[in-house]
């Protein structure tokens, strides 16, 4: 008997579709690359590559105001450029901004810059009261992504889904950066 391999990014694609999240704006990262390939190959999604994460947040916010759901994909260092837009747009206007962040700078990263930046991420999210969860296990991906998207739209609040290396480096061989 052969089992069909299930990857974290296949699950993310399925959950995004279930919630009609059609717009994907990203600034790339090696860890996110298989998810980016998957959405770019799927005509369900409209995929944009803005120059900065802040611009991506603006685009996805505008799309939400117009009735189109989207998500921003980024890495830890990209998230670190966002406090101003989160505090002045997403939070006061109550935008259900979906963010998926690949967590760099921990569990074996060789980039000192990423390591320092990584330590700022959760304190920034906590200081603004933004719901965030790290996803560490393949069998949690469906539950966490599904529930966080559902809650973001039902409570009109931003959500940060953090892809831990325990998920992206340890449990799937083909997502190595």
């Amino acid at each position: 008997m052969t089992t069909i391999p299930v990857t974290w990014y296949d699950i993310v694609v399925q959950v995004l579709k279930r919630h009609q999240v059609k717009l994907v704006a990203y600034v790339p990262d090696n860890v996110l690359a298989p998810l980016i390939r998957a959405v770019e190959a799927d005509p369900f999604f409209t995929v944009l590559t803005p120059a900065r994460e802040e611009e991506a947040v603006g685009i996805v916010t505008g799309a939400y105001l117009g009735g189109l759901r989207g998500i921003v994909l980024m890495q830890t260092s990209g998230f670190a450029t966002l406090p101003n837009v989160l505090a002045s747009l997403a939070m006061p206007y109550r935008i259900p901004l979906l963010m998926m962040i690949s967590e760099r700078g921990t569990l074996g990263d060789h980039q000192l810059g990423q390591v320092m930046v990584c330590r700022t991420m959760r304190p920034i999210l906590d200081s603004m009261g933004i719901e965030h969860h790290g996803i560490e296990r393949l069998d949690d991906v469906e539950f966490i992504v599904d529930r966080m998207i559902q809650q973001a739209f039902s409570t009109q609040a931003a959500a940060a889904m953090i892809l831990s290396p325990l998920l992206t480096k340890k449990s799937t061989a083909d997502s190595a950066a």
């Binding site: 900065r52 802040e54 991506a56 685009i59 939400y64 747009l89 206007y93």
Partner: protein
């Protein structure tokens, strides 16, 4: 565009933001969306009449054009304008590339360029020295990018947006006058009113 000889920045008439905003808004008869950038740009949009299809930014300098791009993507049948200052667009020049790449026919970015950060004490911006936003936009791929020669030319360019193809950038040189009013700062109300208008619920 059908403009025989393009106007250079130095040849463009110095106009007034509130006057131009009123001229623009007076031409909007099909529930066009307008995103007013932070500061005087959204203040004068507010002062021009609180259309429900207006979105007023209370922060996030530089993001009027990206927000307009998102609205235009979500609603390709609706024309969408971003009103932004020179200081703001200088913060987010990459957005001009995203707008060009989108190829969206329903999107227009209006840049009110006075060469200064007017709201913080009139410190010079880079457009006051070397940067020409129309040329930057062309370099980013927005072919329909030009300076408004005067008020009549500004109106003609708005008419082209309303009847023609895009994406478009209209740059207008303006004076350094303050806005004529101040937007009510209630973001959830601004958002809900805008979303209701765009979803046909208002």
């Amino acid at each position: 565009m059908q403009h025989a000889s393009p106007t250079a920045r130095g040849q463009a008439k110095v106009m007034n933001r509130f006057d131009l905003t009123r001229r623009l808004v007076s031409k909007l008869h099909n529930q066009e969306a307008v995103i007013g950038g932070v500061g005087y740009n959204n203040f004068d949009l507010w002062a021009s009449g609180q259309r429900p299809e207006n979105f007023y930014m209370l922060g996030s300098m530089g993001l009027a054009a990206p927000i307009a791009l998102g609205v235009a993507m979500a609603q390709p049948q609706r024309r969408v304008f971003a009103l932004e200052g020179d200081g703001s667009i200088l913060m987010q020049l990459g957005a001009l590339g995203s707008i060009a790449a989108s190829g969206l026919a329903n999107l227009c970015v209006v840049i009110f360029d006075n060469g200064v950060y007017a709201i913080t004490g009139k410190q010079a911006t880079l457009t006051g020295s070397t940067v020409d936003i129309v040329e930057v936009a062309r370099g980013c791929g927005i072919v329909r990018s030009g300076w408004a020669r005067d008020e009549a030319d500004f109106e003609a360019r708005v008419d082209e947006v309303l009847h023609g193809e895009g994406p478009t950038l209209i740059a207008a040189r303006i004076d350094d006058q303050k806005a004529v009013a101040t937007t009510d700062r209630d973001p959830t109300r601004i958002r809900q009113r805008f979303m209701d208008a765009l979803s046909g619920r208002s």
